[in-house]
């Protein structure tokens, strides 16, 4: 097998987050000589964290500028690590930082890149990646001949490496931070006070546009809908998703759920999250089912239309019922 570089940026405390450890599992499974390339303001905790993984070398670009998530500095450190390693396969977790920077790095190295990879394995003696096309509608396995081949592995596809920590020997790769016109200011949550997106939650709760439509009494009950949905999220710590039609309402002057933003959207132009279970409510469109739910394990749905897309083999159970009534009772049971 060809030589592999696992690229990982460190967290503010110098350690590696779960996606990096998942990519390490994938790199080890592929075989071949493994080099680990670390980038960040500090890397010692990360290097010690993976000291027992069996990497031939651990390289590191260290410096304050490389601790900030920014294209120019991330690309410079990744490029330097890739050149220092000479690896044919450059594997990295699909974090927002690496997804932003590594395609450009592939160009600088004269290589190629594949993103959103869900599997990586040897086929007929060569590495092959699995990824989805047309928004999770079809799955392909492909190989490439140009090297280096930069591969960004989607999160949650393989278990995180959990070997023993140790004391690592780190080879520094010295580079100057490139000049940049970009200053990182920090992070901002779309709405203050209510965290509704929880990537590590076991359950995804998806709300559709039906929550904001006229109900049986002829009135809209969006305030009740907000109370029911937030009550459920607080009780279960589920992650919240929304259909495109629902998140678009906020731009069209209709009744809206105030905590629902485009960040919550799943489906065609939204996310395709990975959760063990998913509960859909008032969500009728085909899109969220086909695309947004591709990587959801057990699926249940509550809506009033027995002929909706869910009934056509997308959900395990479809409850034909009023979601307002059902969720009010669910919340009462959860509170009890």
């Amino acid at each position: 097998m060809e030589s592999i570089l696992l690229l990982a940026h460190t967290e503010p405390d110098g350690s590696l987050a779960k996606p990096a450890l998942e990519a390490l599992t994938a790199a080890l499974a592929l075989g071949g000589d493994l080099t680990i390339g670390l980038s960040g303001a500090s890397v010692e905790p990360a290097a010690n964290q993976v000291a027992g993984a069996g990497a031939k070398r651990i390289l590191a670009v260290v410096g304050g500028a490389f601790g900030e998530p920014r294209y120019s500095t991330d690309a410079a450190s990744a490029e330097a690590l890739a050149r220092a390693s000479g690896a044919a396969i450059v594997l990295a977790p699909a974090t927002s930082r690496w997804s932003r920077a590594l395609p450009g790095v592939a160009y600088r190295l004269g290589g190629r890149v594949d993103t959103h990879v869900t599997g990586l394995a040897e086929r007929d003696g060569v590495p092959a990646v699995t990824r989805w096309f047309y928004r999770q509608r079809m799955e392909a396995v492909l190989t490439r001949t140009p090297r280096p081949w930069v591969v960004l592995l989607d999160n949650g596809c393989v278990p995180a490496w959990d070997g023993a920590a140790g004391r690592a020997v780190v080879e520094p790769v010295a580079i100057e931070a490139p000049a940049t016109r970009t200053t990182v200011q920090g992070t901002r949550s779309p709405l203050v006070g209510e965290q509704t997106i929880r990537p590590d939650a076991k359950l995804l709760f998806v709300a559709g546009a039906g929550w904001t439509k006229k109900q049986a009494d002829g009135a809209v009950h969006s305030a009740d809908a907000e109370k029911l949905i937030l009550g459920f999220l607080r009780a279960t710590q589920a992650s919240l998703g929304g259909s495109k039609s629902l998140v678009d309402l906020s731009g069209e002057g209709e009744a809206v759920l105030r905590f629902m933003t485009h960040m919550n959207q799943i489906g065609q132009t939204g996310a395709t999250p990975r959760h063990a279970k998913g509960l859909s409510t008032c969500c009728h469109g085909e899109e969220p089912h086909a695309v947004g739910w591709r990587f959801i394990g057990a699926r249940r749905a509550v809506n009033l239309d027995p002929n909706c897309g869910w009934a056509r083999g997308k959900a395990d159970v479809l409850y034909v019922a009023d979601a307002f009534e059902v969720m009010a009772r669910v919340n009462r049971l959860l509170e009890a």
């Binding site: 998530p69 294209y71 120019s72 974090t95 927002s96 997804s99 932003r100 920077a101 395609p103 450009g104 592939a106 160009y107 600088r108 190629r112 993103t115 959103h116 086929r123 096309f133 047309y134 509608r137 079809m138 799955e139 392909a140 396995v141 492909l142 190989t143 490439r144 140009p146 970009t182 200053t183 990182v184 200011q185 920090g186 992070t187 901002r188 779309p190 965290q195 509704t196 990537p199 359950l203 279960t236 731009g251 919550n264 959207q265 065609q268 132009t269 509960l279 085909e286 899109e287 509550v302 083999g313 959900a315 395990d316 159970v317 479809l318 409850y319 034909v320 019922a321 059902v326 009772r329």
Partner: protein
């Protein structure tokens, strides 16, 4: 790109994978590219002296079809490239074609360029094309998953990018040039404006006639397989069950390991 709301089925052709009846499928502007276009037009409208070029790579006939609707949305000048719009085309070669087209735009001040595009696409979903276009044009200030840009009084730009955990990263870019790969942004789709459409179409048809061939060879890529997922669930449709009982089932199901 082929309308993703159609039934899409892969087939194998002499040149690699494609969609069944691909040239018969209705074409649409990629949703993310659409958001980028609308954000660009919105920014240009607020910034005197700005102009929007739409550089697009697609089969010429399909591009003409797409322009019939897109041209009514916002003012722009089309730069057309006649090539494949398939999800199976490689981003490396696509980036080369697009960067070449940008370089050839007469009157474009590249020191003031804001290169907008879709963060990903609904066809390949690569999320890698724009970065390579930026590299080819020598632009190292790049942002992906952008939801907002605000130009400040001093000309610097505050940019919000999507990151993990439903948060935005806030960055300030002192000045152009920069690459911005847009997520959905916050703007609604503009209403059709026939006057804008007529104005755009005057230049669109000549641009389509001038479209340069941009073949994408997919050099060095070999598809081992392309298939539709076979997963079909046996859905239990539950009717006429009291809400209380449904609630109990759901709560028990949530609690299962």
């Amino acid at each position: 790109m082929p309308d993703p709301l159609q039934t899409l089925e892969p087939v194998t052709t002499a040149s690699g994978p494609a969609l069944k009846n691909e040239m018969m499928l209705p074409a649409v502007l990629d949703p993310w590219a659409g958001h980028a276009l609308f954000e660009a037009a919105h920014l240009a409208q607020k910034t005197p002296g700005s102009k929007v070029w739409l550089v697009s790579l697609a089969p010429k006939a399909k591009l003409q079809q797409v322009m019939m609707t897109v041209a009514q949305k916002v003012p722009f000048e089309l730069v057309a490239l006649d090539g494949p719009a398939s999800g199976f085309t490689d981003s490396f070669e696509t980036a080369a074609a697009l960067a070449g087209a940008v370089e050839a735009i007469a009157g474009l001040d590249r020191s003031r360029l804001l290169l907008f595009g879709g963060w990903e696409s609904a066809s390949r979903g690569a999320g890698s094309t724009l970065q390579m276009v930026g590299e080819r044009l020598g632009i190292a200030e790049q942002f992906q998953g952008v939801d907002q840009i605000a130009v400040r009084e001093d000309g610097s730009m505050e940019i919000l990018e999507r990151i993990e955990g439903g948060k935005h990263q806030v960055s300030v870019c002192a000045a152009p040039p920069a690459v911005l790969g847009w997520a959905t942004g916050n703007l609604p789709e503009p209403r059709n404006n026939p006057q804008v459409g007529m104005l755009n179409m005057r230049a669109v048809m000549p641009a389509l006639q001038r479209a340069k061939p941009a073949p994408i060879a997919n050099a060095g890529v070999a598809f081992v397989s392309v298939s539709l997922p076979k997963q079909q669930r046996e859905t239990r449709v539950v009717k006429d069950m009291p809400a209380e009982e449904i609630a109990r089932e759901i709560v028990a199901w949530i609690g299962e390991e």
